[in-house]
């Protein structure tokens, strides 16, 4: 059999398998056509299938997944539209969730305030001025119950941007589900739980790297047994990019971190194929359209090779890089905020053309404050217009084979490997972070970008070119300034009401677990069920693990 015949045979196999799949899970339409009635094929291929094509691209849903992780991609199901939301109190955020679900959002994504993310109760002196500001304030299971009131947890998937105290918030989510009568096996969603990027880029760490890694691997182990549909980590390039990294650095540093998590889990005695299918990724999308698309495609190929060749994973699901994308908050301008709708559209489109599994589109007013209900709706509508009107999801990987996109994909892959080699030389991601390597690289890139903007070499419309005078000020969302006080009162109430002996008992059991090596999830769950607060739980761990100082 000639090579060409061999490749054709592989293609036929793929086609038959895909059709079998479609028989079980039909595509959105039987026939896809353009507005002129021209039929749109599921997949477009080069004239000649050769070694290079098979090795670099392959077919969608097949190793190395360059063309997407599903054979039918958005022809079968649109990506999950998951808008990040949360502010003020649990009541207010619960209302916003219900609003977004009514508007057609298909998954929840919770933003927590900074005290919650750093493990402080709302009445902690460190929480001054911050309660409910960038997300919802959660002090105990009581708040979490309010947050998800009227939302059946077996029917939505929920993403939670929580890192250092991820184990505690996940425990609260499981406990809320228990109260709703939903078993943990049915829960689906994601916790961000990526601590390494906090040391590099986002700053919401609590503990030093070693115990932080332990908390993560404990979550991997616990979920693989008890919460099997849960994505136990979302390895995030997003914040690395927002801190000023280039597209290549975003991908390289998140991959370096991902390698560290895998190694930590293996060292903790987990099997690669047991946890790898539950690893998820979180990307940023900035304005350089084709580079972004190429970044997503390169990411899938790099991950597939790493998992298969370096870590010897056997399951196909372990090779697949599944990712959420958020458009680039730092690309938005406070000047002429309506322009941001256009930026977000371009960025969202790059994520869709790059094959994202879920998407958050930023609201136009985010350079000024948290989104208003109106701006959050426009952001969601942007995704819906791309999904339902543009037709870009009617064929799989529409830019595959573009000379430019393929060349960029290859180039990005190459540059990422260069960084990975360098980080390997430094002793891996944790060591590289401890030495400040990634931080310096990102800082340099951020500074250079700022200089290009100030010199006019890079044009930002409305900011350094095409400015207007006397811009009207848009309406912005304001968080109730009395919220901090209200939250304190609520907390005092809870402390007076709950069974304090039970809380004490749960906390000392947690302390003992922290000193030993047992999995921390069960004692955390018990503490949460006893209505111990996030501050109390984190303080026990702070006392045992120490605190990280940047």
């Amino acid at each position: 059999m000639s090579k060409e015949e061999e490749f054709r045979k592989l293609y036929e196999q793929w086609r038959r398998k895909t059709e079998e799949l479609i028989a079980k899970f039909p595509e959105r339409k039987e026939v896809f056509v353009t507005s002129s009635g021209i039929p749109v094929e599921r997949l477009y291929l080069p004239e000649q299938l050769d070694d290079q094509y098979m090795e670099r691209l392959g077919f969608p849903g097949q190793y190395p997944f360059t063309r997407g992780i599903h054979p039918t991609m958005y022809r079968a199901r649109q990506w999950t539209m998951r808008q990040y939301a949360g502010f003020g109190s649990a009541e207010e955020t619960n209302k916003r969730f219900h609003y977004l679900l009514r508007q057609g959002q298909t998954g929840l994504s919770v933003a927590f305030d900074l005290p919650t993310q750093i493990g402080y109760d709302s009445d902690d002196p460190m929480a001054r001025g911050e309660v409910g500001k960038v997300g919802v304030a959660i002090d105990s299971l009581e708040d979490m119950e309010t947050l998800f009131e009227g939302i059946p947890l077996d029917q939505v998937s929920t993403s939670m941007t929580i890192n250092a105290p991820a184990a505690i918030l996940l425990a609260m989510y499981i406990a809320v589900a228990e109260k709703q009568g939903v078993p943990a096996e049915k829960l689906s969603g994601t916790i961000q739980n990526d601590i390494l990027k906090e040391y590099i880029a986002r700053g919401t760490y609590i503990f030093p790297p070693q115990p932080s890694m332990r908390l993560i691997t404990d979550i991997f182990a616990y979920c693989s047994r008890h919460v099997p549909k849960w994505n136990t980590i979302s390895i995030s390039g997003y914040h690395i990019r927002e801190a000023g990294a280039t597209a290549v650095q975003e991908l390289a540093f998140m991959m370096a971190n991902a390698i560290s998590y895998v190694e930590a889990a293996l060292e903790a005695g987990l099997e690669i194929d047991q946890f790898a299918p539950r690893l998820a990724f979180f990307f940023n999308a900035h304005n350089n359209f084709f580079e972004e698309i190429a970044k997503f495609r390169a990411a899938r190929r790099i991950w597939a090779k790493l998992m298969k060749e370096r870590f010897g994973a056997k399951k196909e699901k372990s090779w697949m890089l599944r990712f959420h994308t958020q458009t680039g908050g730092s690309t938005l301008t406070a000047q002429q905020p309506d322009n941001n709708i256009v930026r977000v559209t371009i960025q969202a489109l790059s994520a869709v053309l790059g094959g994202t599994q879920s998407l958050h589109t930023n609201s136009k007013d985010e350079a000024l404050a948290l989104p208003t209900e109106e701006s959050a709706r426009i952001a969601l509508r942007t995704q819906q217009i791309i999904a339902y009107e543009s037709g870009v999801g009617d064929t799989v990987d529409p830019l595959g084979g573009s000379y430019y996109v393929e060349a960029l994909t290859d180039k990005i892959e190459q540059e990422v490997y260069r960084y990975l080699d360098k980080i390997e030389q430094l002793g891996g991601a944790v060591k590289a972070i401890e030495q400040g390597y990634m931080q310096r690289e990102i800082h340099k890139a951020a500074y250079e970008a700022q200089q290009r903007i100030e010199s006019g070499e890079d044009i930002i419309v409305g900011l350094n070119k095409f400015q207007i005078d006397d811009e009207p000020q848009p309406e912005i969302l304001r968080v109730d300034p009395k919220l901090g006080e209200k939250q304190k009162e609520k907390l005092n109430h809870l402390r007076a009401r709950r069974d304090s002996a039970k809380v004490e008992q749960a906390l000392s059991r947690l302390r003992a677990a922290a000193r030993g090596t047992e999995n921390l999830m069960p004692p955390i769950l018990d503490a949460v069920r006893a209505y111990a607060t996030i501050g109390e739980i984190c303080n026990v761990l702070r006392e045992e693990f120490g605190e990280y100082r940047g």
């Binding site: 911050e130 960038v134 700022q450 903007i453 940047g550």
Partner: protein, 279 residues
Amino acid sequence: MDKIRVLIAKPGLDGHDRGALVIAQALRDQGMEVIYTGLRQSPEQIVASAIQEDVDCIGLSCLSGAHNELFPEVVRLLKEQGADDILVIGGGVIPAEDIPYLESQGIAKVFTPGASTKDIADYIRLALKEKKRKLLVDPPKKIAHIGIAVKSIEDSLPFYQQQLGLALEGIETVESEQVRVAFLKVGETRIELLESLSPDGPIATFIKHRGEGIHHLALEVDDIEARLKQLKENGVRLIHEQPKEGAHGAQIAFLHPKATGGVLLELWQYDQQTEEAWA
């Protein structure tokens, strides 16, 4: 002026420090000395570092929305510790409607996203200069006198005395300036007629080039020495860097006309006793 020292600080829990780091780097490139506090600093810690590091300016960065609580607290604590000569500026995700409040609380200026680092550096430089200038006690109290160069006091006096009806307070000789002067009181100020004692004296030279007429304005000030020092630091060209004795034992010094828009300005300080002696 010595190198400007700036503390870039991140109050509150917000961990996004890209802006803070970029500005710190940019200010360093602009020749300033910059200290960065790192994340999660309380207002107390920020003020303590600022005082310990003896900075001229604090730049606060906050993206979490906690600015209305945290920024004014920094200013309040600076005041409490007598360090309110430190310039405080702020930046981050700050809605326009919050800016007047922050300014009313003593934040000198708020830079919102899109501000150029050069503008921030220029602002700091200028604001610190302004601040130093403001440190110059109070503005001059009044015009002490208007100096008029005349060839002969005796020839000029009749006009002022007879036609204008001004009272002559006295005539004296100031050897150091090689002049004879006559003072005539006009309301709360005076006219000073100056006559050269020698053909090469400054008044004689002035008349040779410009003819008779207004020669200088004297501004009455407190603490002439501190004021001269400050003017010198601010780069104002002076004729006298130290005060000297003028008519009636007053302390005087001249500023160079190049620094004042072509007017010869005299600073003039005398005590109450001297003032009474005139009467």
